[in-house]
Every structure is written in structure tokens, then in C-alpha cells.
Amino acid sequence: RPPPLPPTTIASRRPEPPQPPQQPPRPRPPTQATRAATSRPTMPATPDEKPRMSGGKSSSAAVSTGKIGGTGAAGGVAASRKANPSPGLGFELERVFVWDLDETIILFHSLLGGTYATRFGKSLIFRLADAHLFFNDLEECDQVHIDDVSSDDNGQDLAGYDFANDGFVGGTANMQPGMAGGMRGGVEWMRKLAYRYRRIKDVYNAYRNNVGGLLDPGKREEWHQVRQETEQFTDSWLTLALKSLSIIANRSACVNVLVTNTQLVPALGKILVFGLAPVFSVENVYSATKIGKESCFERIASRYGRKPTYVAIGDSHDEEAAAKSLNWPFWRVQNHNDLAALSYALDMGYL
């Protein structure tokens, strides 16, 4: 049996999870927009960027995290009994730094092109997301924020929960009672959806400072190579961005928030793979794919209120326009100097 999910402490060293087994093509749940009446094809097309894994395990153990006992949430079992929404603020927040991801913190297209880092980086991200973050299950059920379906969660202890066989796949929120598999309708399905997002949250928190623990040795080597090559080709862009991110993360009155045009689950995969998880809480990641950046910014503003000062950081007109609409100052990042200036301004206490 796979080892239990470790608690969310940095110090714990855990045995590595087993090689993720091959996942046979599974029918994807229909999108919530489509009615359940039409059945989906059972052989989903596999896009190039989502290679299937090698290995010959049976589908019953397909999702290894499904068998892992415990939720790993800080606070132990008691905390997992209820849905754990984002923690409230116990202190006065002064600054909220709202970052864009692609081409601001992570450079993919502009400099990396067809390098090893690009090819294997993307592959690594999707494999990790697939194996540990239910990417396959959730691709059609994209959310803006990790807690968006938590209201459907009943807080059930997920230790020993069999994600692979809970009938989530093939279902939909719009199912009527009595349909396939005897599911009690859409509410049931939504609950399973919520379990998945809760599990993702737990995995993120457990491994955010120890991503290597999520990867087996072969993949770990690949991961190191991807990171190394990325830094080499981008002239240490990520390291430079991390300077600013770390200064902010170390201040109790400041917070890093991420708003990305990537879907939430692969975005979390990217964050983990590129070592950004220590500076972004999972509750501070927003995907703008469904609602756009401006709506995300508005959500953030209503979440943190009027007291803090907000600063948007990005490379494109997208972020700039969204920031402008909310009268947020905007720090443009288009070259190394922009990142260097940002960390200097933070260091000097100007921001």
C-alpha cells in the first residue's frame, strides 16, 4: 500500500510514493454545461501535452493518492472533518502583491522555445498534475479557486477514500437520481468533486517544500534538469523573481497572490515544479480561464478588503488593464531590470 500522506511540515522525510501506474483512457465526465443525456465517447482524445504514463498497474490503483490515508492537513484529522476554507486573517494586511505567472515569473515561450526544458518541463507538469492533482478528472470541471466547491464538501475523513473507484468519472453535476451507477444525483457528484479539490489542497500543502517527494527518482532527475536548463536559458529569471517573492512572503503584513490564465490544476502543477509553492499559499492562487483577470482581481479585492494596498505585477496588457480598472498600481515586468528594480524597491522598503 502506498505510504500515508505526510503532515504539512517541512522537516518530515517520507518514503517516495510508488511509480504512478498507467491510467487507461477513461471516459471523461461531461462538462457541467452539457446535459447528461448524451453519452461521451469512452476513448477521450489524448492531446500531445498529456502523455500517458508507462507501467502496467491495474486501473483500480490508478490514482495513487486515492489510497493514501489521512489528509495531511495541518491540525490533523479534526481539521479534515469539515471543509477547510481559506484561513481568515488574524493580522492587519498592508500589501497584496498580485502576480501573473506565465512570462512574468516563469518564462516558457519567450526564451525557452524548443528546448529540453520546454518539452520535458511541460510533460513533467502534466504528469505530476495527472498523478497527484486529478488533472484528468478535473479538466472539464475547472475552478477559479481551490475552495470554490468546498461548500459541497461534507468534511468526511478522506483517509482510505478510493478516488479511483468512487464513480466520479462518468458522472456529472446534472445527473438525475437513478442514473448510471446508482448515484444519488448531482449533489453526490459535487461532493466528490469537492473531495478532489480538498485532496489537491492537502497534497499541495504536504509537498510544497519538498516537491521531490512527489516524484520518483527518475522523474526527480528530469525535474532537476528542467530547472537547471530553465535557469540557464533565461539567465536566472526565476531566481530573480523569487528574490522579490521571498521578500514579500517573509513579511507578515504582505502576501503574494497569483492570477494566471492557466487552468487551476495545471497551474498548481507549474507552481510545484518550479519551486514557487513556498511563496504562494494554495488559497492564494486564482485561475482566470473562466472569468478573466479583472473578475479575479475583484474577487481578491473583496476578499482582502479596502485596507491593504494592492500592487499588480505582470507583463501584458491583460494585467495592466485589469489593474487600472481597480486603480491598482501596476509594475510591468518585461526584462531582468524590471525584476531587479522590484526586488530593490522591496528591499529598500519603498514598496
Binding site: P329, A345, Y350
Partner: protein, 248 residues
């Protein structure tokens, strides 16, 4: 590379110490970087205009008056900044008006903050008037109490400056050096002091047309321009002006 005092974020209780005198500006990087401000010596960093504006915006929105002042003073003086300076200074003025009332700066910072405040105000007035202000045209404005000890100023001179001048005036016809001594260490330029004596002697007590044009030519044309005026004031601050000013 990023040398500079680490400022604890929370603990800005006291106003910052007065910044060092502005460095000689270097106008070298215009070819390389669009809108990149020049790097000053002594550890200051080259922000773009956009970045400067962003920082000002952040500090203004958060009401961080002292940080804003410290940031602005850390910037090198150069032509490119001056273009955006009115925006920055206007914001600073807004900030002082709107947010600074509950915080009083330490007296040692008053002089510089007053200068900043007046500059901003004069820029606004110039915009309204549509042309640069002369020394005469500069409006007498009451300064915010947060950066002012309340001493009355008339005709650009504080009362105690006038007293100092009167003492010198009581001596037999002061020569240039005496005028310089009276002017040294005080706000007004020695040209202004010289004019004050002239007016005193002529008994008019008013700035004459001659004095006005003298002042103007000293500043490089009527109404000299704010930059040269402030530059003059800065020079009067930092070194003695034995020549008696640029009136000639």
C-alpha cells in the same frame, strides 16, 4: 548590487533622517534604456519613470508619507525625472493635504519637506497660470503644520532671517561678504539677501523692478524657472557663496 539600508517594514515610527545631498547627476544611459533614469553614485538604483510613478502611487495609496518623502529624495535630479516630477510632486502635495495632518515631521526635516511642498504648489500654480512663475510671482502660501513650525514668512523671508539680516545691516555698509554671511545657511539665495539690503537702504521695503530683473538674470531669464531656483537654494545650502550670488 542592491546595497542600501534594510528598512523594517513595520517600524517606520520616526521620520527618516535627512537624505544626503544630491549627487552629481549622470546623463549617460539614455541611449541604452528608454526612459531609464540615471544611476546615482552611492547606491541609488535606476528606476524607470513608470516604476517611480508606481512606487509613488503605492505609497500614496497606503498613506506612507515618510516613505514617499524618503523615496523621492533618493531619486537623482535629472531632466527626464523633471518631466514626471510635477506628477510626483503634485501627488506628494495631495498626500500632505489629505493624509499628513495627523503626523508631524521632526523639525530637522521641515526645511526639505517645505521645499518639496512649495515646489509642488508652485508647479500647480504655474500650470494654472500657464507660464513659469517669477520669484515675485510665487504665492505666499501657508504651509501645513505637519512640516512647519508656524513661523510667519513674508516676502520669502522668515522673521528670524530678517533679524539676522538686520544685524548685518546695522553695520556700516555691508560688503559682499557680509551679505553672503547673512545669506549663508538660510533659505533665501544671497541674491535675494542682496536685494533685501538694497531695498532696505533705498527705504522702499519693496522688491523693485531692478531687483526683480536682477533676480531673473541670476536665475537665467525672468522667472528663472523652478529648477534653477531650487538648484540655487540647494547650492546655498551646501556651500558658501562667496561671490555674492549670480546677480551679475
Amino acid at each position: 548590487e542592491f546595497a542600501g539600508p534594510a528598512v523594517p517594514y513595520h517600524h517606520q515610527q520616526q521620520p527618516p533622517p535627512p537624505p544626503p545631498p544630491p549627487q552629481q547627476q549622470q546623463q549617460q544611459q539614455q541611449q541604452q534604456q528608454q526612459h531609464q533614469l540615471s544611476l546615482g553614485s552611492g547606491g541609488s538604483f535606476g528606476f524607470t519613470q513608470e516604476q517611480v510613478a508606481c512606487v509613488c502611487e503605492v505609497l500614496q495609496q497606503s498613506g506612507s508619507v515618510d516613505r514617499l518623502a524618503r523615496f523621492l529624495w533618493s531619486l537623482p535630479q535629472c531632466d527626464q525625472l523633471h518631466k514626471n516630477e510635477s506628477v510626483i510632486k503634485a501627488k506628494a502635495m495631495e498626500l500632505y493635504r489629505a493624509g499628513g495632518k495627523s503626523y508631524s515631521f521632526a523639525p530637522q526635516n521641515h526645511a526639505r519637506l517645505q521645499e518639496l511642498w512649495l515646489k509642488a504648489h508652485y508647479i500647480e500654480a504655474e500650470k494654472l497660470r500657464g507660464r513659469p512663475l517669477g520669484a515675485v510671482g510665487k504665492p505666499e502660501v501657508p504651509l501645513p503644520r505637519t512640516i512647519w513650525d508656524g513661523e510667519e514668512t513674508s516676502y520669502c523671508f522668515k522673521e528670524k532671517q530678517k533679524c539676522a539680516a538686520r544685524v548685518v545691516h546695522a553695520q556700516p555698509l555691508p560688503v559682499t561678504k557680509g551679505e553672503a554671511r547673512a545669506g549663508r545657511g538660510n533659505r533665501p539665495h544671497t541674491t535675494q539677501v542682496s536685494n533685501w539690503f538694497k531695498n532696505r537702504r533705498s527705504g522702499t521695503g519693496r522688491v523693485t523692478r531692478d531687483a526683480g530683473s536682477m533676480l531673473g538674470s541670476g536665475g537665467g531669464g525672468v522667472g528663472g524657472g523652478l529648477a534653477s531656483m531650487s538648484a540655487d537654494m540647494k547650492r546655498a545650502d551646501s556651500r558658501s557663496s562667496e561671490s555674492g550670488g549670480g546677480g551679475g
